[in-house]
């Protein structure tokens, strides 16, 4: 059964191999070459760090993504562990609500942020009613943060809940039998057990935020996150080499984030993306 099956396995793999070679590997290689085809040659890749506009865009994207990641992981850890460890009526509904926006596209999320914090948004109305002052932050960094947080929470919560489900309650009981306080249990038992899931889901949130385009596009802010910079360079400035180089840098950062998280956290957890 073993010996004669190689050709068949290769046959089964062939279609995907052809599609990937033709439409992914080849184009990616070409993108790398084009990134080095501008007047600066391959030093275009380094010029990102010298061109203030690009560098600022890179830094603000990384900072924004990092902030979103931290906030999403903390919020999701609290709610995820709470929902996994308590049974009460309505729990299933809450879980559904929290994971519902999982597959919303960025544009829709951008629009929802406008609904929440735009000129005719809920936040503004409440603020006007309560204090009489305007509150519009949809088109600022805070708006982007809100949007990114919105699409990060469902992803992170799913991973954390899956990990919390596997938590052995006996560990916690053992810690308490040894006299550990509630906080000590969280610090010494729960958090270490959740660590791989926290790292993995955090990396996914970070990578998604780094590459997010639709939300920023809809909010049409003046904040240049990297995907917006790439888009502008490509479509408005027709600066293909720069756009290509920036895309490759962006892709490398997101891939690295996921790769590093996986080597720290182990490979199995990240699958829930």
């Amino acid at each position: 059964m073993k010996h004669s099956e190689y050709p068949r396995l290769i046959l089964l793999m062939l279609p995907v191999a052809i599609v990937f070679l033709a439409f992914f590997l080849l184009p990616m290689a070409r993108l790398i070459l084009i990134g080095g085809s501008g007047e600066n040659g391959f030093s275009e890749y380094l010029s990102i760090f010298h061109t203030p506009r690009h560098f600022e865009s890179l830094v603000s994207t990384v900072l924004l993504s990092a902030a979103v990641t931290i906030a999403a992981v903390i919020i999701s850890a609290v709610t995820g562990v709470f929902l996994e460890r308590n049974r009460f009526p309505g729990r299933e509904v809450l879980i559904s609500m929290l994971t519902f926006p999982l597959a919303f596209p960025g544009v829709v999320i951008g629009f929802l942020v406008i609904m929440l914090a735009g000129r005719q948004g809920l936040a503004n109305e409440i603020s006007q009613a309560l204090t009489g002052s305007r509150l519009v932050f949809a088109y600022s960094m805070a708006g982007l943060f809100t949007g990114y947080l919105y699409f990060s929470i469902p992803r992170v919560i799913l991973t954390i809940m899956a990990a919390a489900e596997k938590l052995d309650p006996a560990l916690e009981e053992a810690a308490r039998s040894l006299g550990a306080s509630r906080w000590q249990v969280i610090r010494d038992v729960i958090l270490p057990a959740l660590k791989p899931a926290l790292i993995a889901s955090g990396a996914i949130a970070f990578a998604t935020a780094m590459g997010a385009f639709g939300t920023a596009f809809t909010l049409a802010t003046n904040i240049d996150v990297l995907p917006m910079t790439i888009y502008t360079e490509f479509t408005l400035n027709a600066n293909f080499a720069t756009a290509a180089a920036l895309s490759i840098v962006l892709g490398t950062i997101t891939w690295l984030a996921l790769y590093i998280s996986r080597s720290i956290a182990g490979s199995t957890v990240a699958a829930a993306a």
């Binding site: 992914f24 184009p27 519902f100 385009f213 290509a244």
Partner: protein, 268 residues
């Protein structure tokens, strides 16, 4: 059981997070059926915005559905066999192939779209057809199908089942058809739901790959947000949500394939 104070603090926090996620959806849906959002509900409810959206953007909806179905078929044809091979092979080469196949998750859609444009943008016929978008969607969704099927294959000992079928005389293709595929149903279903949902909602790639004649639903949405009045954007979002809602519910029901439970109901 009496709940502690911490339970209620946690519950309140969780409700707050839920509200953050759900209230904007609700607002947006409401805005789509309000006569004038600026004046609020008191201006009355209407379906006229939805009807207008339909007349303006119906073609984007159909194109999105077409691409999603085509994308699913491609995934089934190339992704499921690939997942099987990856589950069969444990060597380094297989792991490298797997890494490559899931790479489109790690690389932003914008970069993939640019790569496709700079490589194939010159082929006019291809660039202008919806197939150009389809290619992007297949690349982007394939990792989800492969992982979903791989997860199911790792949850049962499919090698022994295959040996069992072989011992009964079934050759390779017969085994693949009668044993592997039927037992992967849960993973294929979960993967398919994911693929269709992601394809219908995909924007990052699609925005770069589309042409004025190949607009998908999310592209149309972005369009309406930028250039139409708020009520139309809301009504369009409402249409999108109604389309994607059944998918998301199905995903919640079938999206997490579990290992087949071995319940022994009738012990001797």
């Amino acid at each position: 059981m009496k709940r502690s104070r911490i339970f209620y603090v946690n519950l309140a926090f969780t409700l707050l997070v839920c509200a953050f996620l759900i209230v904007p959806i609700f607002l947006s849906m409401l805005a789509g059926v309000t006569v004038n959002f600026f004046q609020g509900i008191k201006s009355g409810l209407t379906l006229s915005w939805v009807i207008e959206v339909w007349s303006l953007y119906a073609d984007t909806i159909f194109l999105s559905l077409l691409i999603a179905v085509a994308c699913l078929i491609c995934n089934l044809l190339i992704g499921v066999p690939a997942a099987y091979v990856l589950a069969r092979k444990s060597g380094r080469v297989a792991r490298m192939i797997e890494e490559t196949l899931v790479l489109p998750i790690a690389i932003p859609g914008l970069a993939i779209a640019l790569a496709l444009i700079v490589t194939y943008g010159g082929i006019r016929e291809f660039r202008l057809s919806w197939l150009f978008i389809l290619v992007g969607h297949v690349l982007y969704t394939l990792p989800f199908m492969i992982r979903s099927v791989l997860a199911v294959l790792s949850s049962f000992d499919f090698r022994t089942l295959e040996e069992g079928a072989a011992s009964l005389g079934a050759g390779f293709w017969k085994r693949f058809r009668t044993i592997i595929i039927p037992n992967c149903r849960a993973g294929i279903l979960a993967g398919s739901l994911m693929v269709v949902t992601l394809s219908v909602g995909e924007f990052n790639l699609t925005w770069m790959l589309h042409t004025p004649l190949t607009k998908t639903l999310p592209v149309g949405l972005a369009d309406s947000y930028a250039s139409m009045r708020l009520e139309i954007g809301s009504a369009y979002t409402l249409v999108f949500l109604i389309m994607i809602l059944p998918l998301l519910i199905a995903l919640q029901l079938y999206g997490r394939p579990r290992a087949a439970k071995t319940t022994i109901s009738d012990p001797e």
